[in-house]
């Protein structure tokens, strides 16, 4: 490891611009002639649109145009789609209802876009939006997914009778049933995974710029994957052919999954720019974000976990109802299926698993991937069930987990996944030592003397990252491949540009990707620039989600670096009249091994571009590209322990300590990895204790549409975290990286709930464990 290479705690290169106010986010963009857009949104959860009267709005000061969904349809803009095909267990394809970017017939959730006002200023556009008269014929609404499946409930889409999108299964139902029938003990639970709003601090935004001379569009947008946005908007939404559409995702202020998807707003801004002849910018306000950003989670499940007399898990049966909201968002169908049920084996050797998942339309915002996406739901279900089983069986939660850990690799689960490497015991031991597990009884007694209820809980999670071999995900229904691309350009003076299809929206790629190059070529990271987020600069790439930038994105960079190194060695060998196989790259020099002959890196690069003296037949220049397609998912895993103190008078929970022990494989920059864990833990703790999206069940009105009503984790809700790593390198990629972006959000909710239920002596507690709920559960226990 060099001072700036792999494993070094390098301060981030990108920080200076963010710290000095020079970050450039989509809403910061200003182009000549630019106008501002505000959407007219449905105030009703379900209604027919009788008419849209824009006359009054069009007469308002500063208004350029008021556009509606019929015009958009006439202009041939296509329906929004879900790009992952799921087949029900009867073989029928998922039943996708039409989603128009601007509704012209029916609105299906509060916030559904109906019209767009373009005006000189945001304030004028907002005033005019209030003057657009939409005549609605109200329809009954349903917000609860289980209820939406019942007879006689409101029907959202004619394509999906009973609001059922698919009824899918995985695993062997007969084997799971047989295991349960023969079990010495069965633990049964109902598990609710609460709906969350992602809440990246930068609200979504889009700037559509149409150039009539070139018939060309440019879209600045808050995207985690600008190339996928371009592909989808070209191929499916009919905005423009790919070569006539440039998508730029500049600095993006957090994503957490919510900025993967292509929303109505960017499509509408692009279309509106052509229609009005002016650049059109829209920036979401926070209430709009609560209404329209794709939400996360919202599962209701029942689970049966079967044990033999030796406390080994012999079977697992899960039935889940997943709320999809009013429309199928871009990757919604993959979340409660292949990102969820394939992880139901957890860290345990379970011979028989069966899961059934029903996906349901309701009159709520669309639901899609949010940090962890399916894996937090699987982990919460499993780890609450295992903990509950330990209490029922009267053995320690650590011992029950140890008894069931997978200990040899590779391990094929009954639900598709093939775990490649791990050491679950190591993380368990490390976490228990860090938390002083054995000292808990004394701490509990001390707290009791003060009238406080102290509890401790653990969670052992596994996740699947890297998303994933393209052929594998293709066979499971994905509409895209999930490889990544990279290009490495060595300039004539030896400085280096890396162009990557990964996108950084807080992850620090400008630093970690440069560290990788520094490690390989011995050049300072200041001589390496990372370029991302612009479809005109970077070749097709798949973007950042699923903790994939390290495992997949950097692997593509490694492949390109391999090619650059090979050519660099050929040039150096030629310059020094040595054999290519004798050339080694050390400290920024190409040396002939065992001699004092060397060529500095920059001199080799210059030689590549002057081309005065290259090996016969060699092309000038030094630039290589690569595409990397993973061979497997990666499997980060770990053990989290939470200790809490509950005030029985108020129900207020204080987190006394939170310990995270993770296996992320090899690590490029420990400081950045720790930051990812901190942030993930905060989101998981937020889910478990504070956050929850609530709709009024009778009207479908969103009750948590601002930071006054939706509790975001604040600094004084959280402790400082105690984290460590027990890494086993990933055998599946050249850097041995597993990924770390989602682990904290996946592993933490069950640890916290297990701790609170331990403290209060009542297992009947749902997330978020607010003081009111905890107080009620604590008092119900006595």
């Amino acid at each position: 490891m060099g001072v700036e290479g792999i494993g070094a705690r390098v301060a981030r290169k990108e920080d200076k611009r963010f710290l000095t106010g020079k970050g450039r986010y989509t809403d910061d963009m200003v182009v000549p002639g630019m106008k501002h857009a505000v959407f007219v949104r449905s105030p009703h959860a379900h209604a027919k649109i009788r008419s849209v009267d824009t006359a009054a709005a069009e007469a308002m000061p500063g208004v350029i145009a008021v556009l509606n969904g019929k015009q958009m349809l006439d202009d041939g803009i296509g329906n929004l789609i879900c790009g992952w095909m799921i087949h029900s267990k009867d073989g029928s394809p998922m039943k996708m209802g039409a989603w128009r970017p601007l509704a012209h017939e029916t609105v299906r959730y509060v916030g559904d876009a109906v019209a767009l006002v373009v005006a000189d200023s945001v304030a004028e556009a907002r005033d005019a939006a209030e003057a657009v008269m939409v005549d609605y014929e109200l329809l009954p609404a349903v917000t609860d997914a289980v209820k939406a499946l019942e007879a006689g409930q409101p029907q959202l889409h004619p394509e999906a009778p009973s609001n059922l999108i698919f009824d899918w299964q995985i695993g062997d139902p007969d084997a799971a049933d047989a295991a349960i029938a023969s079990a010495a003990h069965v633990t049964e639970m109902k598990i609710v995974n609460n709906r969350l709003a992602p809440n990246a601090m930068e609200p979504r935004a889009a700037l559509g710029i149409y150039d009539s001379a070139e018939d060309h569009f440019t879209c600045y947008t808050t995207s985690q994957n600008p190339h996928v946005a371009r592909l989808v908007m070209s191929a499916f939404y009919n905005v423009a052919p790919e070569n006539k559409l440039r998508v730029i995702a500049p600095d993006v202020g957090g994503g957490f999954g919510s900025k993967i998807f292509i929303y109505p707003e960017e499509v509408t801004c692009l279309w509106a720019s052509k229609r009005t002849g002016v650049p059109v910018k829209w920036t979401c306000d926070r209430t709009e974000a609560f209404l329209t950003d794709a939400h996360g989670r919202d599962h209701v499940s029942t689970v049966k976990m079967a044990f033999d007399a030796d406390h080994r898990i012999i079977g697992l049966k899960v039935d889940t109802v997943a709320n999809f909201g009013a429309y199928m968002s871009l990757f919604s169908s993959s979340v409660p299926t292949y990102l969820y049920a394939t992880l139901l084996s957890g860290q345990y050797a379970i011979p028989a698993i069966h899961a059934n998942v029903r996906a349901v339309y309701t009159n709520t915002a669309p639901v899609d991937a949010y940090r962890g996406a399916g894996r937090p739901e699987a982990t919460y279900l499993l780890e609450r069930t295992v903990e509950t089983a330990a209490r029922e069986l009267g053995i320690s939660p650590a011992e029950l987990r140890r008894r069931n850990f997978i200990r040899s690799f590779p391990h094929q689960t009954p639900v598709i996944m093939n775990y490649d490497a791990g050491d679950y015991e190591a993380s368990l031991e490390a976490a228990m030592a860090a938390a002083d597990w054995n000292g808990f009884a004394a701490r509990k007694a001390e707290a009791a003397a003060r009238g406080m209820k102290r509890g401790i809980g653990m969670s052992c999670y596994i996740e699947a990252c890297g998303l994933a071999p393209s052929a594998a995900v293709g066979s499971l229904g994905a509409g895209v491949g999930l490889w990544e691309s990279a290009e490495v350009r060595v300039n004539a003076v030896g400085t280096i540009e890396v162009l990557t299809g990964s996108h950084s929206h807080g992850q620090g790629h400008e630093t970690t990707f440069a560290q990788l190059v520094s490690e390989r070529f011995g050049v300072p990271i200041d001589n390496v620039s990372i370029v991302h987020g612009d479809t005109d600069k970077v070749q097709m790439g798949m973007g950042t989600y699923g903790s994939r930038s390290g495992a997949v994105g950097m692997s593509a960079v490694v492949k390109a670096l391999d090619k650059v190194e090979a050519k660099a060695k050929k040039i150096a060998a030629h310059l020094m009249e040595a054999d290519e196989s004798d050339i080694v790259l050390e400290n920024g020099e190409l040396k002939v091994a065992g001699t004092d002959k060397s060529v500095p890196w920059f001199q080799m690069a210059l030689a590549a571009y002057t081309a005065h003296n290259l090996p016969p037949g060699m092309e000038p220049g030094l630039k290589e590209g690569a595409f990397y397609d993973p061979t497997n998912f990666t499997f980060p895993a770990g053990c989290y322990i939470c200790e809490v103190e509950v005030d029985p008078e108020t129900g207020k929970t204080k987190i006394v300590q939170f310990v995270a022990a993770d296996d992320f494989g090899n690590i490029i920059n420990p400081m950045i990895v720790e930051g990812q864990v901190h942030g993930g833990l905060a989101q998981g703790i937020g889910q478990a204790m504070l956050e929850g999206v609530h709709y009024d069940p009778s009207t479908g009105q969103l009750l948590t549409a601002s930071y006054m009503d939706y509790t975001m984790p604040r600094a004084d809700d959280l402790p400082s975290f105690n984290i460590s790593h027990q890494n086993t390198p990933c055998p599946g990629n050249p850097l041995g990286i597993k990924g770390c972006g989602e682990a904290g959000a996946i592993g933490s909710p069950p640890a916290l709930i297990n701790a609170i239920t331990d403290a209060i002596g009542n297992n009947d507690l749902s997330m978020p464990a607010t003081p009111g709920r905890v107080w009620a559960a604590a008092n119900a226990a006595h």
């Binding site: 106010g21 970050g23 930068e202 926070r286 720790e674 942030g679 601002s706 600094a715 004084d716 959280l718």
Partner: protein, 162 residues
């Protein structure tokens, strides 16, 4: 439209805006100082924190007209002579930022917090004083560390100067 003048980052500026224009919009749209951000509609998130006459305020919760004649310091004006302010430097050293969107408000709030409390800041006080600033990326762990480190450093240099 009203003409408003104030001093921003040491420079006298003026601009025309509607009476209803918020200070944050005046800063972003009239002055093109886009480091000050808008993250919510209800004065909760703190992405818009600037200093007015030496004290931190949420620039989304006052009108531009109310700030007329005042001294405003935004994130762009904090690094004197191109050298990072000790709080900015501490955020970098301790990895107190990820996506950077809440960062300008965090830094401005932290500078004010250290001005008020001096080097006596402890973790509990820092966490309580960050009530009005929301970060979704960092879990606050490294923000708290950075503010404590900066407070210590600024306290030490203040002591040395005395």
């Amino acid at each position: 439209m009203t003409k408003i003048s104030m001093t921003v980052n040491g420079r006298k500026v003026s601009g025309e805006c509607e009476d209803r224009t918020l200070l944050v919009n005046f800063i972003r749209d009239n002055l093109c100082l886009t480091g000050t951000h808008v993250g919510c509609d209800t004065s909760q998130c703190g992405a818009c924190v600037v200093h007015m006459d030496g004290k931190s305020i949420k620039s989304c919760s006052i009108l531009a007209a109310q700030a007329a004649g005042s001294e405003i310091l935004t994130i762009e004006g904090l690094a004197a002579g191109g050298e990072l302010h000790p709080v900015q430097a501490a955020f970098k050293t301790h990895h107190g930022l990820q996506c950077g969107f809440c960062t300008p408000g965090m830094v401005m709030a932290a500078v004010d917090m250290i001005n008020r409390h001096g080097a006596d800041l402890d973790e509990k006080t820092v966490r309580e004083n960050l009530e009005g600033n929301i970060c979704r990326c960092t879990g606050y762990h490294n923000i708290v560390k950075a503010i404590l480190a900066a407070a210590e450093e600024m306290g030490a240099s203040r002591q040395a100067a005395e």
